[in-house]
């Protein structure tokens, strides 16, 4: 009897607590980092909503640790490969009897058929795969590929999403109708299926078409341009829908009304008053979307439709590791664990950003 009453009170308290954000407000004052003496408010620097959000994010331990890990992965993958290729002495190949330096055998595509499936050593820090390629070098290349696909997709996602979303929300009418229909279609059509179809049907053509492009097209990555475009095509309606919703709200705000009354053109209102206010929504949605994109690219490469050997990608490493899963589980575990860590960190960061920019959504 008593326990039930207590429970009831607890829920009732929960109901009262939920909508307000009192703890959040107290925390905010701490966040500004100022001692806040009474009557000395003029000295306190004005904090913009953005600064407040960032302060909130900085206090989110899980998100900050995630940022640290992500930055570490990205920096290592971008900076370390050239250094790694200068570490280690020359080696006499068992196949060609030639002297091979680290600039070759620490390369992600160099195959040493006499050094297959080796465990971690001073020569191969993370071991080699079943073709005798250095797993650390392949891993770093894979992370770079994930990173660039994510950036590529987000660029198109944000550009298209904001353009169409703002137009649909601000003007309504035909664009709005078309966007709604198109979003329905893309939500019903499994995005992965679309990527598989397009990558499968046009993949070989994309290989020949994009391969001559320097840097991007080389190393079997040509098909990723196509894959990235299709992923962007599949995800932007979601971004547009969120932007549209936010625009509808902003449109009714008084500052927009004030701007309109004073004769500001629609174009100027959109550029100066609507789009800057979309920042928090867009950053949250796109961060959460990055996790999906990275998983999508890895999955497509795993199915053999993305990065082509001898290029490297986390998904490709997983599918190659499958052949030796019973004898050398290390080869498949490394990309799996790294991919998991990256995806978890991006998700945690996305969650942290959402909580920081919109504290009410926390529950």
């Amino acid at each position: 009897m008593d326990t039930r009453k207590d429970q009831g009170r607890e829920y009732a308290q929960g109901a009262m607590m939920a909508p307000n954000s009192e703890p959040e407000m107290i925390a905010l004052d701490q966040a500004s980092g100022m001692p806040m003496p009474e009557g000395d408010n003029a000295k306190r620097p004005a904090t913009s909503p953005l600064q407040e959000s960032l302060a909130r994010l900085r206090r989110d331990k899980r998100a900050m640790i995630s940022v640290g890990i992500l930055v570490f992965f990205v920096l290592v993958s971008l900076i370390f490969p050239p250094i790694y290729q200068r570490i280690g002495g020359p080696y006499v190949s068992g196949v060609t009897s030639l002297n091979i330096g680290p600039q070759d055998y620490h390369n992600y595509y160099h195959e040493e058929l006499t050094n297959q499936d080796q465990g971690p050593s001073a020569m191969y820090w993370l071991g080699t795969d079943n073709l005798g390629r250095d797993d650390l070098a392949r891993l770093m290349q894979g992370i770079i590929v994930s990173l660039f696909v994510a950036l590529f997709v987000e660029f198109f996602d944000i550009t298209l999403g904001i353009t169409v979303g703002v137009l649909a929300g601000y003007f309504g009418g035909v664009i709005d109708q078309l966007l709604a229909r198109f979003t329905d279609l893309m939500l019903a059509f499994p995005g992965l299926l679309l990527v598989i179809m397009v990558a499968g049907i046009f993949g070989p053509a994309a290989d020949t078409a994009f391969a001559p492009i320097p840097i991007v097209g080389a190393n079997g990555n040509a098909r990723l341009i196509l894959v990235g475009c299709v992923i962007a095509f599949a995800v932007w309606p979601l971004m547009a829908r969120v932007v549209r919703g936010q625009t509808l709200q902003l449109k009714e705000q008084q500052f927009v009304e004030a701007a309109r009354t004073s004769g500001t053109t629609n174009f100027r209102i959109i550029m100066r008053h609507i789009i800057p206010n979309l920042f928090s929504v867009v950053i949250v949605v796109s961060t959460l979307n990055v996790a999906n994109t990275i998983v999508g690219e890895a999955g497509i490469s795993l199915l053999g439709l993305g990065v082509q050997p001898p290029g490297s990608s986390l998904g490709l490493m997983i599918s190659e590791g499958q052949t030796t899963i019973t004898q050398y589980p290390r080869e498949i575990l490394i990309p799996c664990i790294v991919l998991t860590i990256i995806v978890l960190c991006v998700s945690f960061l996305g969650d942290g950003l959402r909580d920081a920019f919109d504290p009410r959504s926390k529950d």
Partner: protein, 323 residues
Amino acid sequence: MVQFLVKRLIGLLFVVLGVTFITFILGYLAPGDPLTLLLGQHYSKAAHAALAHAYGLDLPWYEQYWNFLKHLSTFNFGLSYEYKNRAVWDIISTGLPKTMELGLWALVLTFLIGIPLGVFSALKANTWLDTTNMTAMLVLYAIPVFVLAVFAQLFIVWLDSVTGGAYGIQWPVAGWGNAWQYSWSDIQYKLAPIIVLAVAGVAYFARLTRTTMLEVLRQDYVRTARAKGMRERVVIYKHALRNALIPLITVFGISVGGLVGGSFFIETIFNIPGIAAITVQSVFTRDYPVIQATSVLLAIAVVLANLLADILYTIVDPRIKIE
């Protein structure tokens, strides 16, 4: 309600048209002439024309699309390019039961495990049990399904090496037994893929159920029920849970979409000859009619799930009539 359903049906019809059009146009625009594959290196122009006529490839695109739609309505997907003179339906129909079995069991697991976990978390809200449970669900939801599949395979390999085949435990790492049969060896094949496919859905439903359940438990009528002195069990399972489940219906369609996406990886990694695996193989052999057929089937499965969710919602929640 009828008005609402008709409106939704028209919307879904548009979606089906869009889906079929996308699949058709991709196959239509596909580079290369599939017929040269069939004819070999040396062929006469007449033979090429005859074959093009047989496949209906000599018609303009809108007529081809119309034929495509007409054939779809009778489940006639035409002939395969890869296996000459073999109907696409023949190829797909071997894989369809396996994919359906995999998906349906994963869906059942999603509900049977996800919802109780969510209710449990809501009842223990803000205790360490809740926090641990929800963190685990967040992690499981974020981990890609193919990584989970690999972990499951590694676990099976480890289990086999530890038990050494004793007690009849020599679990297969890949493969699928007989469709819709459940002997001991069939179950050994099916357990791991089904569980792995269900994990993301379980995690999603657990988190969602917790949210909706907490919301319902705050309602006045729950307090009234408690104040009347009802047993806690009745309050939770009869008053709260029923209403907490209503919002879950709307995400039913989304979870089916997730299962369709996941089945590509599960079938590839566990080597299950379902239609998702057939699709991936057909992509490599450039067997467009097969790809079109499986894509349309899978997309329509998602569309139907959405429709089912709408119908269920109108039945369960009468307020929808007002809209």
